[in-house]
Symmetry: C2
Subunit: 342 residues, 2 copies
DNA sequence: CTGAAAGCGCTAACAC
DNA sequence: GTGTTAGCGCTTTCAG
């Protein structure tokens, strides 16, 4: 049997479509008796509004897209886990896409998606796209960018203070007496901004302590995964002058490095201390548990959704703002050893 | 400026809407000259079909929903990572939702989602829902269930042979000479079917080897996460007769257990051997790397999408089939120790 | 407070 | 081949 439509309900209740619509959406005030009549008809027919039609009529899709480079990177799935309920609270469904860091795909998403009416706005964690690409895109499209970046006048950015966090992570290592600290995850190309900020923090910490930076200890990786971390560590350990500490630009990289260190029979943190970035659950259960920079993921998720909906609802384009969520350093066994409190 | 519509294009090209639609969708044969004219007009106006309108018109949303209990469980995100591209290849977008194992929410999704026209079908990894709940739902709704389950006449199931895989995992431990093998992750309640199948395999392996099962070694957990695994292990190690091996019902549970074992200063696998289930990347980089049952995730993803689209395209309801993807046991250091090949 | 009716942008019979 | 046109199901202006 065909699904019941608004019109069917109206007919059964003996009112007009307009009234049914009002009841369903709680719009205009409706007299109690008609409300009851309509609701009875709705129940009787098992009526459910067709979202598609509703969206077509009012030009909204009721969906927001969240685009991340890789879904299986724990940081992103943990963030998504926080974003989805926030969006749902506000009546939005979340369309998820992963780009594998493919710039063409990312550009395509931004450009087409909006016009296609598939989603009303987008929360986007860029990887392949450089600032210039973004500048070209339609400034009226509701877009919130994840991660700190050099400012862009049109879109919002939500992230933590990468330079400061990285400085703190490095300083933590320096404070522990380490002097040959490797940094794994630098990315020199235009799309590696987040990585570059971390490198900046790493340098600052050295400068603050009056220590020189051994450029050969700054290792570049293409992605931010376990395999890259392990490969970088392998190279580092094969050198005549291996490092005595490692700052991984995210936890996954740090965990890959940790794996390699232990594989070689070295001790953590005695021989090599390790700190990561992101505070994914996996790091808490690693052996040993790794120290890390813990961004306030809930705040990031909440703010990103908030800002996006604000942009969607706003008639005129809002200026882009920069939101900094808080973060803190969590020292675990991988830097301070067994004695330390978890 | 208002976005260009089909009608605008038709006007500019001097043809009817019908023709433009034909060109856009490549439906009916169109003469070369008109095709060119229309395409030129499309380009000139920057026309993009409005997906919403198209969907409303032909009653399809072009979206499929993938519903998992928890997004931050690596197994699910790895699976999603495989599903998304498969769906995209077939022209579908993926709407992701997580239920937190909340039965009410899961039921709601199945019931409303379809009628709401938000998605054309659903790939669903049940957790809170029991078979009875599913039986009540509309059998014409295109639905593919993830994970092995006792058969249901209406829907497809895609998974690996849980009993056999669990038997193999347990037998692996027995073959290594272990005799007090704990099983962590049993779930006795109606919605814990997958867990129960694993327990069955665990028992079978013991029966095959002529070994008795110590019921007190079968530990129940509410969820399948690291914390649960760690808690279960803690209890196990506090006993006078701790186990000499552990079969974790998934890798996360096993990793939680591993963490606890090492925390106590015990050696793996010498004191306690550990095997997990799912083969998530995290397990390969754990210290030591954990042995596991590796399901063919790509096959699962591909089959699930395939079957779902088949159901969506089919006019009459298809009978439910049971698809078994392959799996294999991967022995790593957590059971066979250092000497073994990775 | 409620009814009538005009779309939202596209698809697909039904003609020509 | 291509034009005409009636919907898809809902929202919403404009009357009343």
């Amino acid at each position: 049997m065909r699904d019941a439509t608004l019109r069917d309900v109206a007919e059964l209740a003996g009112v007009s479509a307009r009234t049914v619509s009002n009841v369903v959406n709680g719009y205009a005030p409706v007299t109690e008796p008609t409300r009851v009549k309509v609701e009875k008809a709705i129940k009787e027919l098992g009526y459910r509004p067709n979202v598609l039609a509703r969206n077509l009529a009012n030009g909204r899709s009721g969906q927001i897209a969240v685009v991340v480079p890789f879904l299986d990177v724990p940081y992103f799935s943990e963030l998504l886990q926080a974003i989805i309920p926030r969006a749902r609270e506000r009546g939005y469904h979340v369309l998820i896409d992963q780009t594998d860091g493919d710039a063409a795909h990312e550009r395509e998403l931004i450009r087409r998606g909006a016009r296609a009416a598939l989603f009303d706005g987008m929360i986007y964690s860029p990887l392949g796209l450089a600032q210039e690409d973004l500048a070209e895109s339609d400034p009226t499209f509701p877009l919130v960018l994840l991660g700190e970046r050099s400012s862009n006048a049109f879109f919002d950015h939500v992230g933590i203070d990468d330079v400061e966090a990285s400085r703190a992570a490095t300083a933590h290592l320096i404070g522990l007496g380490r002097r040959r600290i490797a940094a794994i995850g630098d990315q020199p190309y235009p799309t590696g901004e987040a990585a570059q900020l971390r490198t900046l923090g790493y340098r600052q910490a050295h400068a603050d302590a009056g220590l020189p930076v051994d450029e050969s200890l700054i290792i570049q990786t293409l992605r931010f995964n376990r395999a890259d971390g392990a490969a970088a560590m392998r190279a580092l350990l094969d050198r005549d002058d291996p490092p005595d500490a490692v700052f991984g630009y995210n936890d996954t990289v740090a965990l890959g490095a940790l794996h390699e260190v232990l594989e070689r029979g070295l001790r953590v943190p005695e021989d090599i201390a390790l700190i990561g970035y992101d505070d994914i659950e996996e790091g808490r259960y690693a052996n040993p548990p790794i120290s890390t920079i813990s961004p306030d993921k809930d705040a990031i998720a909440t703010t990103a959704v908030e800002r996006l909906l604000m942009r969607i609802d706003s008639k005129e384009p809002l200026p882009g703002i920069e939101v900094r969520a808080s973060h803190r350093l969590i020292a675990r066994q991988s830097t301070v050893g067994r004695a330390a409190p978890a």
